[in-house]
Amino acid sequence: MMENAINKKSKAGNSKDKDQIIETPGQIVIKRLLKNRFAMLGFGLLIAIILFSFVGPLFVKYGYNTQSSNVKMPPSAINILGTDYLGRDMLARLMYGGRISILVGVVSVVIEIIIGTLIGAAAGYYGGKVDNILMAITDIFLALPFLPVILVLGSLMSDLKVGSEMRIFALMFILGILSWPSIARLVRAEILSLREQEFMQATEALGLKDIRKIVKHLIPNVVPTIIVNATLGVASAILTESALSYLGMGVTEPIPSWGNMMTVANKLADFQKRQWLWIPPGICILVTVMAVNLIGDGLRDALDPKMKR
């Protein structure tokens, strides 16, 4: 804001400086993103997918579990994408499934970021023993084989007869709790160098409390790294969720997710003759993950101060 005001003033005062408009870092980032065709493609695809999943259901007269006697119908005027083995409309299920897949991806990454940032910041800021203990914990989590652990937990949930809705929450937590170590490492590495800089000496001189130093002065400087990794994290969380749900260990019936809708492909007849049941959800996963990856990559380039074009 202030820089804008200064720009305007200098523009009015001296017309020779017209070319020297000073942009805020935020403006530079947005400008770079707008120039990046791939990132824009990603945004376009993502907006389309979000509208499809969150606004789409308003225009469809079926719920995700509205059953009918029109079982396993191929795509037609009544059911644009056909119906499944309970006569449920595939288009409606695809839309509601998108909600679940996107929500699981986003929420699990939020959990991942909160844990990873706090642990990484504490380890980097305090150093010494705190750092050693926190990093030892991080290393343990890093060495946990990701997919096997989730599969074991998934089968545990099936044995405990965890309800369909509870499973979604559990899944978000499990994905978040298993993915934070990489964020913690990145944040720690950056904080290690940031804490030696002059502005941190200034906060020392001002006598600020540790919490304030970390939250108000260190973490904001790590935000670019966090944003990029969070975006790419959403993409991999959606992929993991879909694979788990496909194996029957993630989101379970009757709640649809793009992954669990594809379990029908395990029945040879459905797999071979009723592609409308499993190809559309697969394409949805691919498009969503790709959109998020394109945006994440664009953000990385845009936020990188070394990048010049």
């Binding site: 992929l239 496909y246 194996l247 697969g282």
Partner: protein, 320 residues
């Protein structure tokens, strides 16, 4: 360097210990065990209790853990409840199937990715670069099970040119070359799927690394002294550009033994990933424990290798 490696290897022991405790707790939190999963309604309660005593399932979890850990330290991970064989034997007999699948697709990915990455970097923002960048993103974003299903649908069902799954044709008694060709045929689709989903990230690694090198001053110097572009790129830039790739390759090697759970399961390829997944489904908890510890060891080895390799290729990094 040797001192550092020894130190790191020793540090792996407590990490593995904690991981094994976590796993043991999770695996045994399950209300049902192997006997319950396999029990049929005709079995009497006494028979079930007897069976549980045989497998040691009747004791409290901490005692079971201590027993397990005592044996595990000596390399005895118990007998798989399903295979009735030592866990290590089971893992050993399947790990090479996984390795051959993973190694071939790994080599293929590199073979495709390195040239594409180099050309993309040298012709940044060209039509070639843009096309392959988009394809790269598709590769990175492909769900492994979707690729596997689509390729089975197209090649095994619609075109019917390749087998649906497995490693050999059922009932085949072929030996020698005929057997080898049979295995190759069965291998084709899983290798294809695995290559498709990993080639993208390798293209990106190569491209990024080459771009970074090409921007450096010594490359400008090489061009300024009139070297041919080919020499500049393939002799001067490539050597430094491939350094990070070599470290990535090194740290990926342990992972080649880990098996691909989803791809192997869909193609019913008898690898360690499929066996591990089935062990989870069957509540074969000794095998699940062994499988997970094996995976954790591979991950730790990968991390260790990457740290060592970084120091080997970059003399500025000092390990302590």
């Amino acid at each position: 360097m040797i001192q550092y490696t020894v130190k790191r290897v020793l540090k792996m022991i407590p990490t593995l210990l904690v991981i094994s405790v976590i796993f043991f707790a999770i695996v045994n939190m399950t209300p049902g065990d192997f006997v319950d999963a396999k029990a049929n309604p005709n079995m009497s309660a006494e028979k079930i209790a007897d069976l549980k005593a045989i497998y040691g399932l009747d004791k409290p979890i901490p005692i079971r853990y201590v027993n397990w850990a005592k044996n595990a330290i000596q390399g005895n991970f118990g007998d798989s409840l399903k295979f009735k064989q030592p866990v290590t034997t089971v893992l050993k007999s399947y790990v090479w199937n996984s390795f051959s699948l993973a190694a071939i697709s790994f080599a293929l990915s590199l073979l495709v990715a390195i040239p594409i990455g180099i050309i993309s970097a040298t012709k940044q923002y060209s039509a070639f670069d843009r096309t392959f960048t988009l394809l790269t993103f598709i590769s990175i974003s492909l769900p492994s099970f979707f690729v596997a299903l689509i390729s089975i649908k197209i090649f095994s069902l619609d075109l019917a040119v390749l087998p649906i799954g497995g490693m050999t044709t059922a009932g085949s008694k072929a030996t020698g070359i005929a057997n080898f060709i049979d295995i190759l045929k069965h291998m084709f689709l899983p290798v294809f799927s695995l290559t498709l989903i990993q080639v993208g990230s390798w293209v990106r690694y190569v491209r990024t690394s080459m771009l970074e090198v090409i921007r450096q001053d010594y490359i400008r110097t090489a061009r300024a002294k009139g070297l041919k572009e080919k020499v500049v790129i393939y002799k001067h830039a490539l050597r430094n550009g491939l350094i990070p790739i070599v470290t990535f390759i090194g740290m990926s090697i342990p992972g080649l033994f880990a098996g691909a759970i989803i791809t192997e399961t869909i193609f019913t390829w008898p690898g360690i990933g499929k066996i591990g997944y089935e062990a989870i489904l069957n509540r074969d908890y000794t095998l699940v424990m062994g499988f997970n510890i094996f995976m954790a060891v591979l991950t730790l080895l990968g991390n260790l290798l990457s740290d060592i390799l970084y120091a080997v290729v970059d003399p500025r990094i000092k390990l302590k």
